[in-house]
Amino acid sequence: MAAVTTLLSTRGLSRHFGGLRAVENVDFDLPEGEIRALIGPNGAGKTTFVSMLCGRIPPSSGQIIFGGRDVTALPAHKRVQMGIAYTFQITSVFSALSVRENVELAVQRIYRASPAALRDESDALLGRVGLEGRSDQIAGDLAYGHQRLLEIAMGLGQNPRLLILDEPTQGLSDGEVQSFIRLIHEVARETTVLLIEHNIDVVMALAQKITVMNFGAIIAEGTPEEIRANEAVQAAYLGG
């Protein structure tokens, strides 16, 4: 096996809201090509942590290194341009625009092509996530689960190096969850995936490694089997 390079790492990353330490002194490394799950009880600081990764929230202190470059001071759009794609926990699509226009907006930044090619590319992506035939619908009219899928299509459309998914399966039906798992397996051949997820079946089916957070800090990290056996994790979930 070839040596794996680290795509993303943080050193001493912290974020305080007033007196609350949402994220405290986190050292985190994510190798290229991995599917990593980030789990933890509600309020553990997961969303705050990934929001700092993609630049939505500035850290109080610490460092973020992406692709060998210190991106701590870069604005969000620059990091996205470098290849960090983020799908929102609370569905955030352009609800007044058509489904296709939503994806085109994601694709057009990296894909300099004619309108027709852009359109085909977008429709192909929609097919990939299981939204074929819905291109002309208004995004806001889609069912909630379908809006989640649209979000994923918009993430993929950016052809990212790192895809951050914040609770992507929330609100999906069982069948949709299964196709989501297949899709992410496929995506992971080209992309590193960081997944915040509450559905433990999804985590076990997808993640190569799991990072567990509680009270703003990483309490455990390892393979699914190791995490399953970890007492601290069990304490956090059962006692926390």
């Binding site: 993609c54 939505r56 604005p75 969000a76 759009h77 620059k78 996205v80 341009q81 983020y86 929102f88 955030s92 699509v93 352009f94 609800s95 007044a96 625009l97 226009e101 085109e104 907006l105 994601a106 057009q108 930044r109 309108p115 918009m154 950016q158």
Partner: protein, 311 residues
């Protein structure tokens, strides 16, 4: 050629033909309407496309107008370079306004633009010896000449107005279908999402302010040079409200909407002025009714019901 492009080129051809058909009174009105429609189109770039509601657009119109007018009055410039000066002044001014005002959002943005505009109006009054304040001044007929054309001649004036209008209209058709135009719409719909798709939303908004201010300034400069009169009333608050009204009525976020809205409001005011001096009454009633019942405006409804392809 796409349907959208055909439609807008068709509209320009119809307008050109109207000059030969309409009675003098109405073609005179239409020339004025086309210049005001450019002002409204500029407003639409910010409000209709980028979702930035300005309450002080008269400052851009006035900077263009006084930029051109004062060049003539103080430096004896000819019409063409004066027009150019007006536009350069508008670009620089709107850049400055954008850099400051875009630090705010929502209601604060509205009030900041209102305050800047009020400051410009007051500055015009304050520098009375240069601007002749409220009274304003006239650009003499002899100066209003470009390449042998007399801009004070009604026919020439009509076509000069049409030329400016056509450039802006077709420019808008192109813009809203370009990548940049689509990003502006994305910002209007959901700025945070647009940012997280990797777009520099701040730079795009700044572009919208500069383009909007420059178009409005071009309208101001053209108005001064075509109709010859320059005055502080063009910088007053009601003149900032007019393009908002035109755009709301015609359809925010549609290319032809500002023109449609300008035509309707112009004639509504024209008709109402025959029985009352209170010509802003119509504007007030229209603003209230439009916000309550018809937020999409005329062309917005047309697009929704019959012509989805309308940009």
């Amino acid at each position: 050629m796409s349907r959208a492009l055909t439609f807008h080129i068709g509209a320009i051809i119809v307008l050109a033909a109207l000059q030969f058909i309409l009675p003098v009174y109405h073609s005179g009105n239409l020339a004025r309407i086309m210049v005001l429609a450019v002002y409204a189109m500029g407003y639409n770039v910010m409000f209709g496309y980028a979702g930035l509601l300005s309450l002080g657009h008269a400052m851009f119109f006035a900077v263009g107008m006084y930029g051109a007018g004062l060049s003539v009055r103080l430096f004896d410039m000819a019409a063409a370079p004066a027009f150019g000066t007006g536009i350069i002044a508008s670009i620089l001014f709107s850049l400055g306004v954008g850099l400051l005002a875009l630090r705010t959002i929502g209601v604060a943005f509205m009030i900041v633009t209102l305050m800047f505009s009020q400051a410009i109006y007051l500055l015009i009054l304050y520098f009375n010896p240069l601007t002749r304040g409220d009274e304003g001044f006239v650009i003499p007929r002899a100066v209003r000449q470009v390449a042998g054309f007399d801009l004070s001649d009604p026919t020439t004036r009509y076509f000069a107005a049409l030329l400016l209008f056509a450039i802006c209209l077709l420019g808008m058709v192109w813009l809203v279908r370009s990548r940049t135009g689509r990003v502006l719409i994305a910002i209007r719909e959901n700025e945070e999402r647009a940012r997280m798709l990797g777009y520099d939303t701040w730079a795009h908004k700044l572009f919208a302010v500069v383009l909007s201010g420059t178009m409005s300034g071009a309208a101001g400069a053209a108005y001064g040079l075509l109709f010859g009169s320059i005055g502080a009333s063009f910088a007053e608050v009601p003149f900032s409200i007019l393009p908002l009204l035109y755009v709301l009525l015609g359809g925010p976020g549609t290319v032809i909407g500002p023109f449609v809205g300008t035509v309707f409001m112009f004639y509504l005011r024209d008709i109402s002025s025959s029985f009352t001096d209170a010509h802003m009454l119509v504007a007030g009633v229209a603003l209230v009714l439009l916000t309550m019942y018809a937020r999409r405006g005329i062309m917005g409804v047309v697009r929704e019901r019959w012509a989805k392809w309308l940009p």
